[in-house]
């Protein structure tokens, strides 16, 4: 039961929230359900920590890897929920802004992601990931402006086509399993596939075909270049808390799926094929996004390309494999979700004060919005991978594993791309923060940040700092648990 409750609560919550017409009541109910969900996730994580693997029925299973990603999901969801309570005030009246629908869709989105993490077999995993696309497409188009509708449509079409390829990949895995002698109804179950993987070397070509389709499919959801085109539009047009959720958790969820499939292929036919593929996609994303960040004009698009860059780094980490590579990749996914959430929170008040997110029209933010600028600076330093924050540690780990396996060219490419991305971020943030704010300083009537917003932002900041200075022993054991599952 510890798995079913955290799964079903968001589904029920979604329909429950729909029932409350009055916005204040809807927000309160949503908060209640949110807290309950976080507690359930915490309890499930606690039991999982002690039990190692939890299996309920044929379709729900949770192991070390799920534990790590559930913690990531729970933490980010709690922070985003806390922030969104205050955020809905920012939405100008004209927009489609009923909190009821907002929270319903958010809980639906949460339900699909928890389903993805807890699903035992690859088919269920695929269905859950497809469902995340559907749930988040409406959220992307929430504002119903021209840009939001266009972004939503592109997001829906491109991701659905991508997921269709992933379906073909899953089917090919199923075929390879069946050919490898696994009984038909268990042929999609991840655990059985892992144990049977060494036996499947006969279907080498089919497994390579399966991984190619899965990589392109789930790669679209992760936003790896050249399948990334939907990501900047979707993250730029979605409301701030939603782009935070998309950037921080949805990309990790797709990466989780790819991790599962990469584990099977590398066990069956050895890692070099799948890892070369991941390295090439990761390197391409890292380089292309670093260059694209230089010429961005909109703040949220800049942050979206930065997400592509960091997902490229995570893909590099997974592609390099080994104790250091995987440790760096997982830690980097976690750190990136925290830092990106922090940055997306600032876009809300920036849009409200300056009326736009076009960076060449934002001047003197340091004086107009001192607290938001502080958050922007902390987030910017973290995303640029500078020392006091966690991303420096994980990038260092990935670089160490790259050099240990003497991938010199790849490592130097990564260092160059990180420097270019740092230059782009520095150039844009400096232009926004310095100088005199245009027009009348609207600081007088700016609504004071709510306690929730301050709490959300400080949780992210403190976690980033802790992970930068000292990765707690508990967290390291969770990471090693997750790596053990994949090894």
């Amino acid at each position: 039961m510890t798995l079913w409750f955290p799964l079903l609560l968001p589904l029920l919550g979604a329909f429950l929230v729909l029932g409350f017409k009055n916005p204040r009541a809807a927000v309160r109910v949503a908060l209640g359900i949110g807290i309950a969900e976080v507690l359930l996730l915490g309890n499930c994580a606690w039991k999982l920590r002690s039990a190692g693997v939890l299996q309920q029925g044929r379709y729900l299973r949770a192991d070390g890897l799920t534990l790590f990603f559930l913690i990531n999901l729970g933490l980010i969801f709690a922070v985003v929920l806390a922030y969104s309570v205050g955020y809905l005030r920012h939405i100008p009246k004209g927009r489609f802004s009923s909190p009821r629908w907002f929270y319903a869709l958010v809980f639906l989105f949460l339900f699909t992601m928890v389903a993805a993490y807890l699903s035992a077999n690859l088919g269920m995993l695929w269905i859950a990931i497809e469902a995340t696309t559907l749930a988040s497409a409406l959220l992307v188009g929430f504002y119903n402006t021209k840009g939001a509708v266009e972004a939503g449509w592109k997001y829906l079409i491109v991701c659905t086509v991508g997921i269709a390829f992933a379906l073909f990949g899953t089917i090919a895995f199923y075929l390879a399993a069946v050919r490898g002698g696994v009984p038909a109804e268990m042929a999609l179950d991840w655990a059985t596939l892992m144990t049977a993987a060494p036996g499947m070397t006969a279907a080498r070509e089919l497994l390579k075909l399966a991984f190619v389709f899965a990589a392109v499919g789930y790669g679209t959801k992760i936003g790896l270049v050249p399948m990334h085109s939907w990501l900047p539009d979707a993250h730029a047009e979605a409301p701030a808390p939603i782009s935070a959720l998309l950037s921080a958790v949805l990309l990790n969820c797709a990466m989780y799926a790819l991790l599962r499939l990469d584990a099977i292929t590398s066990h069956a036919i050895g890692g070099n094929f799948s890892h070369t593929l991941l390295l090439s996609f990761g390197g391409l994303s890292l380089l292309a996004s670093a260059f694209l960040m230089i010429v961005q004009r909109d703040l949220k698009r800049l942050l979206a390309y930065s997400s592509i860059e960091h997902m490229g780094i995570v893909a590099l980490g997974v592609g390099l494999g080994g104790p250091l590579g995987l440790f760096g990749a997982l830690l980097h996914a976690f750190n990136h979700s925290l830092a990106k959430t922090l940055l997306f929170f600032t876009t809300g008040s920036v849009r409200e004060t300056f009326g736009t997110l076009r960076m060449d029209r934002i001047r003197g933010m340091g004086r107009a919005l001192p607290s938001t600028s502080a958050v922007l600076v902390v987030g910017g330093l973290a995303v640029a991978g500078l020392p006091p924050f966690g991303l420096f540690v994980s990038e260092f780990a990935i670089l160490m594993s790259a050099f240990t396996q003497s991938h010199y060219l790849l490592a130097l490419l990564m260092l160059a791309a990180i420097s270019i991305a740092f230059g782009a971020l520095l150039y844009h943030f400096q232009r926004m923060l310095s100088g005199e704010p245009p027009g009348s300083p609207a600081s007088a009537n700016r609504p004071r940040p709510l306690a929730f917003e301050i709490a959300a932002v400080s949780i992210c900041g403190v976690c980033l700092l802790i992970l930068g200075l000292h990765v707690p022993a508990v967290f390291i054991s969770v990471l090693h648990g997750a790596m053990a599952v994949l090894q």
């Binding site: 088919g123 266009e150 269709a164 073909f168 075929l175 109804e185 999609l188 900047p232």
Partner: protein, 220 residues
């Protein structure tokens, strides 16, 4: 080998040809409604195939799958699409970027390409190369439709054709996945089409047209 077995074997053999015809027709179609009808025909053929396979392999599960295909793909989705098209009251032509003749040639070329690509795999895994070729052809044509057609609804149909191709591939290679997974996939497909319908209406409300290639606001 009774009459029924003979009929089932024949339907399996001839269904590939019917599917090729529907592929070429969809490529040549100029109006959205004909495309929807052709898609429904395609699904009908696939249903026939599933029934035949169910009968040959005596598996009750396959029958349930056939029923679902009939319900979802032959009836529900085409009906929904037609209703959407009628309420859209926008010009019915599909304003493709390639003329009808060019589309047919491309579709034919894709079919030949599908055969070429499939041969090694079919031999390697002792699969029915013809059916696999059809599946790949469907996938490639679906992709081509999405890339070349400008109307939003046509992109949805392109996606559905692509989905059909993948479903067919699954069918021929593995004789059907576990039932729960199949049902999940169909449910997802249905939700996806509904959602696309919602978005098509939203595009028409905000842009006064449903020409996807003119959605160019978000760049760089």
């Amino acid at each position: 080998m009774g009459l029924v077995e003979f009929a089932a074997a024949k339907t399996l053999a001839s269904s590939a040809v019917f599917l090729f015809i529907t592929v070429l027709l969809i490529a040549a179609a100029t109006r959205t409604s004909t495309c929807i009808v052709l898609f429904a025909a395609q699904c009908a053929v696939i249903t026939m195939q599933v029934v035949a396979m169910a009968y040959l392999h005596r598996s009750g599960e396959a029958l349930v799958v056939a029923a679902m295909v009939l319900l979802v793909k032959v009836l529900a989705i085409p009906y929904a699409l037609l209703r959407i098209r009628n309420r859209l009251n926008v010009p019915a032509d599909i304003s493709a970027s390639t003329t009808a003749a060019q589309s047919v040639y491309i579709a034919a070329a894709l079919i030949l390409l599908a055969f070429a690509v499939v041969q090694p795999y079919a031999r390697a895994f002792a699969l029915d190369s013809e059916m696999l070729a059809v599946a790949t052809a469907l996938v490639l044509t679906g992709a081509f439709l999405m890339v070349s057609r400008k109307k939003a609804l046509m992109q949805v149909i392109g996606l559905l054709v692509l989905e059909n191709g993948i479903f067919l591939a699954a069918l021929t290679t593995t004789f059907g996945m576990p039932l729960v997974i199949e049902m999940g996939i169909f449910f997802d497909l249905l939700m996806c089409v509904l959602l696309m319908g919602v978005f098509v209406f939203r595009i028409r409300d905000t842009f006064e047209h449903v020409d996807v290639s003119r959605l160019r606001r978000l760049r760089g």
